[in-house]
């Protein structure tokens, strides 16, 4: 059997997904989001969320510390740029390896507990990384100023083949510059590969094992399986995804700061996964896109734009409406995010994907006992 084989259904999903991702510059135009910087973020955070979902969606282990791996990936990538070459491929490879090693160490300890203890352990480790990056590890992380490229970096490999240029070099892929729309396509292709690998994991026996961990770990133990190596593998894989995303963040903007590792950043990827639909393949991607879209578009709104939007209202009502809505956009967009998140957890635990499912089942007019929310099953405690 061909190792690249995917079931027909998944192959179609992949094809449609590829089409959607690669035509982003076209269909995002009416949404006002078709600029490269934002689309790069869409693709990068989709990778992050897809990887996070391999852990949380399949095994049910809620990690609150994945931003640490994102940060480690970024730092590794920037150091590769500084020390070896501006080519992004070695940076990506090293970032994946190093963050994988971090994930191995942290996961090995954290996975000895499950449920809320696991969440708190990962949170503790991530905070430890964050605090260290800010304080003692300043020689490596450059602390608050963030790690940056400088003109005098060694860049051993690059300088073997060419003279030191006058300006600050920028990351490249085999001589092709990594900026604007080209960078988006590079990131998009990486996203497609990452998505394909996640699909393979979902349909593989290994993925089945992870799902079994989520539904009933105790029974797995009784059946004679040692679940920890499987959970640890899932943890490492998701850590590597996070590292990859971090290296791509550094590749599109060669800068690595500690705030990427803060636990609010870990919380963000949880939000993405829940919002989109935990345990589904497409869901986390949608969640990542929605959050990044709202972050950019909502936070760009200001009072003048609101007055324009509500100009059809009478003057007094317009002022009131603007005064209220202005709290939810611009600086306050996170308020809307929090509210949406609470509403989703309360009413739609399966996220957007469950919403779509419910919606389509209304139209099909078929009363099937729809799949219960993915969140309802919890790891055995």
């Amino acid at each position: 059997m061909n190792i690249f084989y995917l079931p027909r259904r998944d192959a179609i999903t992949l094809a449609v997904f590829a089409l959607v991702v690669l035509t982003m510059p076209i269909w995002l135009v009416p949404f006002g989001a078709a600029y490269p910087g934002l689309m790069q973020k869409f693709a990068i955070f989709a990778i992050f969320a897809v990887g996070y979902n391999v852990l949380f969606g399949l095994t049910g282990y809620l990690s609150f510390g994945h931003a640490a791996f994102l940060g480690v990936g970024s730092y590794t990538a920037v150091w590769t740029f500084k020390l070896m070459t501006m080519n992004v491929i070695p940076a990506m490879i090293f970032a994946v390896i190093v963050s994988g090693l971090f994930a191995l160490a942290i996961g090995f300890v954290s996975l000895r507990r499950s449920g809320i203890y696991f969440s708190i352990l990962t949170l503790a480790f991530a905070q430890m990384c964050y605090n260290l990056a800010y304080s003692v590890l300043t020689p490596i992380t450059n602390g608050e100023t963030a790690l940056q490229l400088t003109i005098n970096d060694p860049r051993v490999l690059d300088l073997m083949f060419s003279e030191r240029g006058a300006g600050l070099p920028s990351p490249s892929l085999l001589g092709q510059g990594m900026s604007g729309i080209e960078a988006f396509y590079v990131v998009a292709v990486v996203l497609l590969i990452a998505f394909y690998i996640a699909q393979k994991i979902f349909v593989s026996p290994f993925g089945m094992m992870l799902r079994a961990i989520k539904s009933n770990q105790t029974r797995m133990h009784y059946t004679g399986f040692n679940t920890r190596p499987y959970a640890l593998t899932a943890f490492v894989i998701s850590g590597m995804y996070a590292g990859l995303a971090g290296s791509l963040l550094a590749a599109t903007d060669p800068l690595a700061g500690a705030e990427r590792m803060q636990w609010t950043a870990s919380g963000e990827v949880v939000l993405m996964t829940i919002l989109g639909g935990v345990g589904t393949l497409i869901g986390p991607v949608i969640g990542a896109w929605l959050i990044k879209y709202f972050e950019n578009i909502f936070s760009g709104f200001n009072d003048a734009m609101l007055h324009h939007t509500f100009s059809w209202l009478p003057q007094g009502a317009q002022d009131v409406v603007v005064a209220i809505t202005s709290k939810f956009v611009g600086e306050g967009w996170q308020l809307s995010l929090g509210l949406i998140f609470v509403l989703v957890v309360v009413f739609l635990p399966g996220g957007v994907m469950e919403g779509i499912r419910r919606f389509s089942s209304i139209f099909r007019n078929r009363r099937e006992p729809g799949p219960t929310g993915a969140l309802k099953t919890s790891p055995a405690e």
Partner: protein
């Protein structure tokens, strides 16, 4: 000796804050079985009760004094805080003592917020997995802190302590050591005493009153208490309100030490969760003991001598302790057997 005493004292006020928040977290977990990620936000809301109170009473009305001129020739502006207009000299006292007085405001406000939170949102989550509880309270915490940010802005707002309580007390001299060696800011001493008395009050409430007895019975076996015809749910709701008050008061009194901003709660939340885990999920004495213990450990770890041996230890000591405790003794220092031990 002096240094050790000084560090011990330094850890006490922070430990007091940790203990109070962890106490509330444990109360909520022990009674309602909910893992409340929004508890730090309650601490922050308490701090902002003090801020709101002070901003209200110091709201200034500007009058012009035509007889005097300011250095640049315009009529002198006399700014009078609102409290002074209403109450005269008593207003000035009010402003000076605004932080302790806002406790009176914070108690009812936090009680209402706590009960509204429990009745409005959290009660729908008793039957759902702990994961869902974490997620929904995490979302709630974001909402609360963003609401505060929308009202008070993103910058920290410093709260002065009463003039009489500024300065330091010479603890060393009181204990018969060399004077001037161990001094300690009075307000931090007050914070420690305050948190100790709140903790004592909560324990007394649970131990000595009938209400507390019923609540303890409900913590042990909720169903049986319910069968006996006691409305245990309502009592648990009140306990949630009480936990909110405890967190809020901890926040009010902490404002002179650290100017509160909207993410104060989040900063403390992560730490107090660690405290709860170290103390033992569901154990009230454990939460208190671990709170003070970690506060003191942290202050010892920030000593230059220790930092010279292990650089950066002050940043990570609490997390490190938590990791070790969770791996070695998962139920925590004083945790009951079988309570979320896996």
């Amino acid at each position: 000796m002096e240094t050790i005493l000084a560090q011990l004292l330094n850890g006490l006020d922070k430990g007091g804050a940790y203990a109070l928040i962890a106490l509330g977290l444990t109360l909520v977990f022990g009674t309602l079985g909910v893992v409340n990620f929004a508890h730090g936000a309650l601490f922050m809301l308490g701090a902002f009760c003090a801020v709101a109170f002070r901003q209200f009473i110091t709201y200034e009305t500007v009058t012009l004094d035509p007889t005097k001129l300011s250095p640049w020739g315009a009529p002198l502006e006399i700014k009078t805080p609102m409290a002074q207009i209403w109450f005269g000299d008593f207003g000035a006292v009010l402003i000076n003592w605004s932080v302790p007085i806002s406790i009176l405001l914070a108690i009812p406000v936090m009680l209402v917020i706590g009960i509204a939170m429990e009745r409005g949102l959290i009660k729908h989550f008793y039957k759902r997995a702990h994961m869902d509880q974490i997620l929904v309270t995490f979302g709630l915490a974001i909402v609360l802190q963003e609401v505060v940010k929308a009202i008070f802005g993103a910058n920290p707002i410093s709260q002065p302590m009463p003039v009489e309580l500024r300065g330091s007390a010479d603890i060393g001299a009181m204990l018969g050591l060399t004077p001037g060696m161990v001094t300690y800011p009075i307000w931090r001493l007050i914070y420690f005493l305050f948190s100790a008395s709140i903790i004592g009050a909560v324990f007394a409430f649970l131990r000595l009153t009938t209400f507390g007895m019923v609540v303890r019975a409900g913590m042990a076996d909720r169903e049986t208490v319910g069968i006996l015809g006691i409305n245990i749910d309502r009592r648990f709701t009140i306990m949630f309100g009480l936990a909110a008050v405890v967190a809020g008061l901890a926040g009010v009194m902490y404002t002179p030490l650290v100017p509160p901003n909207y993410h104060l709660g989040m900063d403390f939340l992560v730490l107090s969760f660690v405290v709860v885990v170290v103390g033992g999920m569901g154990s009230l004495p454990g939460a208190v003991a671990a709170g003070f213990l970690l506060g003191i450990l942290q202050s010892f770890a920030s000593m230059t001598e220790i930092k010279a041996i292990i650089p950066g230890i002050d940043q990570i000591i609490i997390y490190l302790v938590a990791v070790v405790i969770l791996l070695v003794r998962p139920r925590g220092l004083l945790g009951r057997r079988g309570v979320m031990e896996t």
